[in-house]
């Protein structure tokens, strides 16, 4: 997400500078709790309850983001191998192993200071079975207070009253009491309402940003650029005025780019020619993030919509907004509606709609070895999308933060063949088979 290491040649816009300041400040807050006495809740991106956590003056630390940080800084490979030496299977999620390896090395934050152990493990079990085991593993290491928010899966593609009631009840009777106890701060629902109001404001602008990719050329890349855009809203800033400001600034920049007919900004400058508009399913690879992105922008390929930008909350597809008038119910609906908590037929419908709404030329799946929540069933998703849209689809395989599973030559070859397939399709070539 919003975690790329800095390089001098990267073009910086005001929104990027703003986000960097927010992240730096957040890491400084996280690594100075010994002095400030602030309490820390470790929690996950999907189903995170940032608005609620802030009601208790607590900070939020996200293990996946730490794994991503280490992935982008080329540190995760060694950390994963350390965890495997400690007995963790080579078959399981590399976020988990990078996190466990990171702990074993002292949990050093990007600012070079050690992160404090969490005061509370807030397990939001949303859309991913591994989360549940991951927190048991963390609890085994930290031995700290743990509270669980179990979010049922939308197996039939709907949020039932029973699901919502169950989540709300857990919030009332498990999560809020645990936060009160650990923080020593009494819950104030009006404070939560205000945070949710802030979230909704930022979400409006965030959705506008995502939908700006309907323009031709698209002013944004909704996958590689998208991971930066989701940063504040997926992590420690949803519900803050900082997030409102960030998305306002970002929106202004994109409005300007649309006026000027400009394409997305890449690490090597503005993309001048949009040759291929793609919808992408699955998380990116973090260990070779820029090399991976380059394979796209070198070919003039822009991602106009991605499912990864919905993993920490779906705001565009069915118009969900955090709602101060239904504070706990709204938090429940947010958790229930995260992308990987929706069943496969829904995911197919969402992708199909994106293909149409964003006038995509093709559909690409980046299948992640580590992430069964995303990956199991993706070949069927691909087939369904091909059949429904008639557009060519392709499938590549990488991993989140394990560099052993990123094979640049193979991926580049596959992508180049895929772009040729799209060209052929445009010229009225024979029906496509997945690359």
């Amino acid at each position: 997400m919003n975690t790329a290491p800095e390089r001098e040649d990267v073009i910086k816009e005001s929104s990027m500078i703003k986000q960097k300041e927010m992240i730096t400040r957040n890491y400084d807050l996280l690594t100075s709790t010994a002095e400030t006495g602030k309490k820390v809740a470790a929690t996950y991106v999907p189903g995170n309850l940032n608005e609620l956590i802030m009601c208790f003056d607590m900070l939020n630390n996200l293990p996946e983001i730490n794994a991503i940080q280490n992935g982008m800084r080329k540190k995760s490979g060694a950390l994963i191998q350390d965890a495997e030496k400690m007995g963790h299977s080579e078959d399981v999620c590399t976020y988990v192993k990078a996190d466990i390896g990171h702990m074993a090395k002292g949990s050093i934050a990007p600012n070079g200071k050690p992160m404090p152990p969490p005061d509370l493990l807030l397990l939001s079990y949303t859309g991913c079975f591994t989360f549940m085991k991951w927190f048991e593993l963390l609890r085994d290491q930290y031995g700290c207070r743990t509270t669980m928010l179990h979010v049922p899966y939308e197996g039939d593609g709907v949020i039932t009253a029973n699901m919502r009631d169950y989540v709300v009840k857990q919030l009332k009777e498990e999560v809020i009491p645990a936060l009160e106890e650990v923080s020593g701060v009494k819950f104030d629902i009006d404070r939560l309402r205000q945070n949710l109001k802030n979230s909704a404001k930022a979400e409006d602008d965030f959705v506008w940003v995502l939908e700006s990719a309907k323009n031709k050329p698209s002013p944004i890349d909704a996958y590689f650029g998208g991971v930066y855009y989701v940063g504040p809203i997926f992590t420690a800033f949803r519900g803050t005025t900082d997030a409102i400001d960030y998305y306002r600034i970002l929106r202004g920049e994109i409005e300007q780019r649309i006026k000027e007919g400009k394409g997305p900004i890449t690490p090597e400058g503005e993309m001048t020619q949009e040759k291929y508009r793609l919808v992408v399913e699955g998380p990116p690879n973090w260990t070779s993030f820029r090399d991976f992105w380059k394979m796209f922008y070198d070919e003039g390929a822009v991602v106009v919509s991605s499912t990864y930008t919905k993993v920490g909350g779906v705001y565009d597809y069915d118009g969900f907004r955090h709602d101060p008038d239904r504070p706990l119910e709204s938090l429940a609906d947010y958790c229930l509606g995260c992308y990987t908590n929706r069943n496969l037929p829904m995911r197919v419908d969402m992708i199909e709609k994106a293909m149409e709404d964003y006038q995509a030329d093709g559909f690409l799946i980046n299948s992640i070895k580590s992430c069964n929540s995303f990956s199991a069933g993706q070949l069927m998703i691909m087939r369904e999308i091909e059949q429904r849209t008639g557009k060519p689809a392709a499938f590549i395989e990488t991993d989140l933060v394990d560099p052993r599973y990123f094979s640049p030559a193979n991926i580049k070859n596959r992508l180049e063949s895929y772009f040729q397939m799209i060209d052929q399709k445009r010229q009225g070539g024979s029906p496509m088979k997945a690359a």
Binding site: D91, L137, D156, Y166, S373, A376, G377
Partner: protein, 390 residues
């Protein structure tokens, strides 16, 4: 009276019959009959039974089925059970199944529920979510409502209401079945030379495809027949097998562990048969009773959250003590998230308790048993030669 060999031969036929002939025959006997399939690890079969339907356990394709279509649905890094299950569907071996339940066990089986919906739109499909909050007024309330929704779904298949009285009767039938399952497990733990694990495995596996009443009779017959067997006691070590609760190992793997000098005195095969630890009451609200039993009296396994960190892995230590086991073998399917993520925590608990263990992985179609035999044999030798008890 049937002999042990005759009973086990029948069970083996049932386990290897990928056309599910016995279930097809059961259904064909009456046009109103319906069959509802389920995958590991737990569904409340009592409700299916109360609807007059046959609950049918689908445990993949095993090592006798060539997977051709199924591999086209999955990447290489995903376990084998979903691909062989898809193969069963695509090759019409499950075309007589009227509904499919996909329990909450992992993301792969969860997503398979959606694939089933896309693949077989006319079949009733339910992802059967269970609570990970184990308080009666929170998780229990949620679960009772999920059971009611499942009941309504089953009623939709048959077109007939399911009465509370029918559920109570089914609860009693499954209570009886569970008693017999426990009796077989207790016998094996007491006298493992009398009831070898590969036989016990097949006996339990038969319960996945037979009507519960027939399975109970089969176990009754086995318990009687096995007492008449004159089987030699071997100088084997006693082990618990863990991690095989979903994708099943080839039968040869179980035989290999036994041949290597291990008596398996407990395991987590077909966990559904022993999921509930107590009888479910047969009076009062049957749905509430099933929910309460799930919340407060169900087994511990990797697919469940353990709310109390101090208790993590303790069930395994207690099991080792109760069964007088000398070691634990973690045998998990490749790429099995629940088993493999849980293993380091369980292994840590065993280490702290001084219980030796080994780990290996398998797939349902693993063919090479020699490495497993060698590993299990070395483990058995180590226990026999070097443990404090030896």
């Amino acid at each position: 009276m049937k002999t042990t060999a005759e009973i086990i031969e029948h069970c083996q036929y049932l386990a290897e019959d990928l056309d599910f002939t016995s279930a097809r025959d059961w259904k064909a006997a009456d046009p109103s009959r319906r069959v509802v399939g389920y995958m590991p690890v737990y569904v409340p079969r009592e409700l299916i039974h109360a609807a007059g339907m046959l609950p049918l356990g689908i445990l993949g394709g095993g090592d006798n089925m060539e997977v051709i279509h199924g591999d086209a649905y999955y990447q290489s890094y995903i376990c084998r059970i979903p691909r062989s299950t898809i193969e069963l569907a695509v090759t019409k071996r499950l075309d007589f199944v009227d509904g499919m339940l996909f329990p909450s066990i992992c993301d792969v089986i969860r997503n398979l529920s959606g694939m089933w919906k896309l693949l077989l739109p006319d079949v009733y499909v339910r992802y059967f979510d269970v609570p990970q909050n184990f308080k009666s007024n929170i998780g229990g309330t949620y679960y009772a409502q999920e059971l009611r929704e499942l009941k309504a779904g089953l009623e939709g298949i048959s077109g007939q209401p399911i009465s509370d009285e029918a559920i109570r009767r089914s609860i009693a039938v499954y209570n009886e079945n569970r008693k017999l399952v426990n009796a077989v497990y207790d016998l094996r733990a007491r006298s493992p030379w009398l009831a070898p694990s590969w036989e016990v495995y097949l006996l339990m596996r038969a319960g996945m495809v037979l009507p519960v009443e027939d399975h109970s009779q089969l176990m009754t017959d086995y318990l009687a027949a096995v007492e008449k067997e004159d089987r030699p006691v071997k100088d084997n070590c006693r082990v618990i097998l863990q991690g095989s609760f979903c994708e099943q190992p080839p039968l040869n793997l179980i035989k290999s562990i036994e041949l290597a000098g291990c008596y398996i005195v407990d395991d987590d095969y077909m966990l559904i048969t022993r999921w509930l630890l107590d009888d479910v009451p047969t009076d009062g609200d049957p749905i509430e009773n099933l929910a309460e039993c799930f919340i407060n009296h169900s087994t511990e396994t990797a697919a469940k959250y353990e709310p109390d960190g101090k208790r993590k892995g303790q069930y395994l230590i207690h099991m080792a003590k109760d069964r007088a086991a000398e070691g634990v073998i973690f045998a998990a399917p490749s790429f099995c998230d629940p088993a493999l993520l849980d293993r380091p925590m369980l292994a840590g608990a065993l280490e702290r308790a001084g219980i030796p263990y080994i780990s290996f992985k398998y797939a349902e179609n693993s063919g090479q048993m020699q490495p497993i035999r060698e590993q299990a044999g070395t483990f058995a030798d180590t226990i026999k030669l070097w443990s404090e008890a030896s």
